[in-house]
Symmetry: none
Subunit: 106 residues, 2 copies
DNA sequence: CGACATCGTTCGGCGTACCGAACAATTCGG
DNA sequence: CCGAATTGTTCGGTACGCCGAACGATGTCG
């Protein structure tokens, strides 16, 4: 019944040995709501709350929200690719972006 | 009366020559709601909506929520591109990597 | 064991995020 | 210029994010 988001919040919170109350205080929330985020079926918090929770738990909002279903090996390759890409000139990057966009119409 | 978030969404949307309807479709929203985000006083969208809007407009959620300029800088575009790349299938990624590698022998 | 503190859980209700459908404005081919 | 798309705006209603306060569990110290 809990969601991936809920699992991450609970894991990070317990890892920091925080109570629901403490995390609630840090995030301008109620502890009942933090509990809901951790245990309810498919929580859809506001961007505002997620931002504050990410700060309190010292992670990025991306990490909290994305499924992270990529295998580690693949993630390493992705990072390597990203480094190369960032090193390119802006006009070249623009061309690459166009290629990727065209890709999506199989 | 509009908010910084609203200004960014409108600027990015028009830059891509999208209508409210088109952006709404891409983000599982209604056009009336997109209009509210762009024009209302202090919109507080869900993390879900902001995430989808960021993908559709090819920027990061960080940029939408925190940054002050309405035009994303190169780093933001890079991150958005990287997110798209990561979502692709591994065979497709392999092809893209080849393209990038070939690029480097000007 | 009992009393007190601290943590987690439940629940009723208020406010608002978000919607659909109708209306107003703008664009554009004939 | 006229209609018909296409875009943007307004508005009433509904679902649910988020809350406070009460309740149950668990632990700790005498």
């Amino acid at each position: 019944m809990p969601s991936p988001l809920g699992d991450k919040i609970r894991a990070l919170r317990k890892n920091k040995r925080m109570s629901l109350d403490q995390l609630a205080d840090l995030t301008d929330s109620s502890k009942s709501y933090i509990w809901e985020l951790e245990n309810k079926d498919d929580p859809k918090p506001s961007a505002d709350k997620i931002g504050k929770i990410a700060v309190a738990l010292e992670v990025t909002t991306e990490f909290l929200l994305t499924e992270s279903s990529v295998t580690p090996d693949e993630a390493v390759l992705d990072e390597a690719f990203f480094r190369k890409f960032k090193a390119m000139s802006e006009p070249d990057k623009k061309k690459i972006r166009r290629i990727i966009d065209a890709w999506e119409d199989e």
